[in-house]
């Protein structure tokens, strides 16, 4: 089974990039086959995506066992770029079978500028979009893992590094099972 990593952040030297690099290193260490979709670097168009690209991504997801999403949380949800990817690649249609039944686990690695209590008050819609909507389109007993760093705006370098360690341990635990 293939591990697919989806990275979504406009800045090449962002903390999200560091998280994605950690994820990829951990996947490689475990000897798993993997693909990386970098939505910004690939020039994905969230308004009117190229149907060929959408078909390619759907084909890739159809052979994916573990899906890892890395993105920052903005306004309590995924960035518009990733939302556009969901809208086109994951949206239900009359013609598709309606699922990516090979995906048995979805892992989300995200960051929030605000603290956890504020996100709870906002309803954590980004978390629910993945745990409720995306997971309903995966395997019947698909598992969901949420690795989040809250309060990014007020934390030090050490805490960020510790978070990367946490991400690495979590990925190593699940890849290659």
């Amino acid at each position: 089974m293939v591990t697919t990593v989806v990275h979504c952040h406009p800045v090449a030297d962002s903390f999200a990039r560091a998280v994605t690099d950690t994820v990829i290193d951990s996947v490689i260490d475990r000897g798993a086959r993997h693909h990386v979709i970098d939505l910004y670097a690939d020039g994905f168009d969230p308004r009117r995506p190229d149907p060929t690209v959408v078909a390619e991504h759907r084909e890739l997801l159809a052979s994916t066992g573990l899906l890892i999403l890395v993105y920052p949380t903005w306004w309590s949800a995924q960035p518009a770029m990733l939302q556009g990817w969901f809208d086109s690649v994951w949206a239900r249609s009359e013609t598709d079978a309606g699922s990516f039944a090979s995906i048995s686990r979805v892992i989300v690695c995200t960051t929030h500028g605000s603290p956890k209590w504020l996100n709870a008050l906002e309803g954590e819609s980004g978390k629910r979009t993945v745990s409720r909507y995306l997971r309903s389109r995966c395997a019947k007993r698909c598992r969901f893992t949420w690795i989040s760093l809250y309060g990014m705006d007020g934390i030090d370098h050490e805490t960020r590094r510790a978070h990367l360690g946490k991400v690495s341990r979590a990925i190593r635990r699940f890849v290659g099972r």
Partner: protein, 186 residues
Amino acid sequence: MLVIADDRDAHMATLAEDVCRVLTRRAVSVECIGLNGFEPAMSERERRAYESDTPICDDAVATSADAVRRADSLVFVCPTLSNGLSAPVKGWLDRVLVPGVAFLLDERTGRVRPALGHISTLGLIAVDDRSALRRWLEHDNARRVIFRALRLVCGLKTRTRSLRVTTAVLDREADLAVALQRMTRW
């Protein structure tokens, strides 16, 4: 009243026009921003400038930000494609509602202070074909973003109003007119 509409297809464009017509009939000054040509993805330049004194780097974004400052109500019109706001509307939130427009960052305490206290009503008109059971199972995240996340940077007395229409209703002019009449109580 500012209407922000994802009018990428003909159906949604018609809905946006009808919404503006109904609101104008109530003698309300309505300004409509169609997102057909709006780039939803935040650029690298904008992300780097986000916490600076000039987070807006684009004319279309600046026009929208000025409209938000003038508005007393925000009404979003969008389809629900994957259990949330559509990408153009989410992109509009990401790029337009930046520090200095929707909230203020207190440099001393690091806290966020609301800046949309002048907004009296937040409205959401969503085209959603999901059954009630599916909406309950998946949660309605478009509502959560607007009525909870965005509501937190508005005033204490800001009201929330929502309207759900299906594509079947959109296809029938008479049904749509009846559905939109419910906005007269907004």
